[in-house]
């Protein structure tokens, strides 16, 4: 028992011995977040995407990312845009695109948004002549 206490006092004299378990835990958490998390640009507004069993991942990043929030606010490539300006903006972005063959639009809309508020957006995309459109979902079941 005495020997044990002697070692403990020796270790504590150096000061850092007691923090080693803390460092172990922190390192484990660090590795977890580094490996499991994905670092990506955050969206201008937080949305709760619809869940789906669909497994398809996009091969390329979308040329245009349209985010529609619960309050019907529309962001095109992180810029707030009024619904009636979406068509002209999409046409302009398509004209400026270097790869018009692969040009595609991704829509991130809140899962609780009703269909009526998405109809004008889809009509605007259709009028601008774009056909490759995808809706972003989250993997999982409701």
């Amino acid at each position: 028992m005495n020997i044990n206490q002697k070692f403990i006092t020796q270790r504590d004299r150096h000061g850092d011995g007691s923090v080693i378990p803390l460092i172990n835990v922190v390192f484990l958490m660090l590795i977890f977040f580094m490996v499991a998390g994905q670092i990506q640009r955050s969206d201008p507004i937080t949305i709760d995407p619809p869940t789906s069993i669909n497994e398809k991942r996009p091969n390329l990043d979308p040329d245009v990312l349209i985010i529609v929030g619960l309050g019907n606010e529309v962001y095109v490539n992180d810029q707030p845009v009024a619904m009636d300006e979406v068509e002209s903006m999409l046409s302009r972005l398509f004209d400026e695109s270097s790869k018009p063959d692969q040009f595609w639009v991704q829509i991130k809309a809140d899962g609780h948004l009703n269909i009526a508020s998405l109809r004008p957006l889809f009509s605007a995309i259709r009028r601008s002549g774009l056909t490759k459109v995808s809706v972003a979902t989250q993997l999982g079941q409701e």
């Binding site: 150096h14 000061g15 850092d16 923090v19 080693i20 803390l22 460092i23 922190v26 390192f27 958490m29 660090l30 977040f33 580094m34 499991a36 998390g37 994905q38 670092i39 990506q40 955050s42 995407p49 619809p50 869940t51 789906s52 069993i53 669909n54 497994e55 398809k56 991942r57 996009p58 991704q106 809309a109 809140d110 899962g111 609780h112 948004l113 009703n114 269909i115 009526a116 998405l118 109809r119 004008p120 957006l121 889809f122 009509s123 995309i125 259709r126 009028r127 002549g129 774009l130 056909t131 490759k132 459109v133 995808s134 809706v135 972003a136 979902t137 989250q138 993997l139 079941q141 409701e142």
Partner: protein, 140 residues
């Protein structure tokens, strides 16, 4: 004269405090910037705009599923079917295997409900589902 023998110096351990500081900063960075949302995409290809509005592809027969509200039921040929009723939906899908499954939705139906129906049809074996049709501005 007393002899002073130099005591062997104990090896000085490097202080761990700066290491912990840096590790904590890294941990905070990764915790705040990591995203765990598994994003997927559902393709909703749109028909090219034409001057005369025609119903999408007249060649392939359609099996029209209509969502009228978010109550968990879908209407098919005036039958009300629960979205949870996998057996009934599988029967319908197997009867119309070669058809295009067209989804329609009333105004107040949520996007999540539409995705649930699309999931259920896909699970029961439907190959070609037209989700984009639900977003057409004409009355469903």
């Amino acid at each position: 004269m007393p002899l002073k023998l130099e005591q062997p110096r104990r090896r000085q351990l490097i202080s761990l405090t700066p290491l912990i500081d840096v590790v904590f900063i890294l941990l905070l960075f990764f915790m705040l910037s990591s995203s765990f949302v598994a994003w997927r995409t559902v393709d909703t290809p749109l028909a090219a705009p034409s001057s005369t509005p025609v119903e999408a592809s007249s060649e392939q027969p359609h099996a029209v599923f209509e969502l009228r509200s978010n109550d968990g039921f879908v209407w098919f040929e005036d039958q009300r079917i629960s979205l949870e009723n996998s057996r009934r939906i599988r029967e319908l899908v197997s009867q119309h295997l070669d058809d295009l499954f067209v989804l329609k939705a009333h105004d107040d139906v949520e996007l999540q409900t539409l995705m649930r129906l699309a999931d259920q049809l896909k699970l029961q074996g439907a190959d070609t589902i037209s989700i984009a049709n639900a977003f057409r501005e004409s009355k469903p």
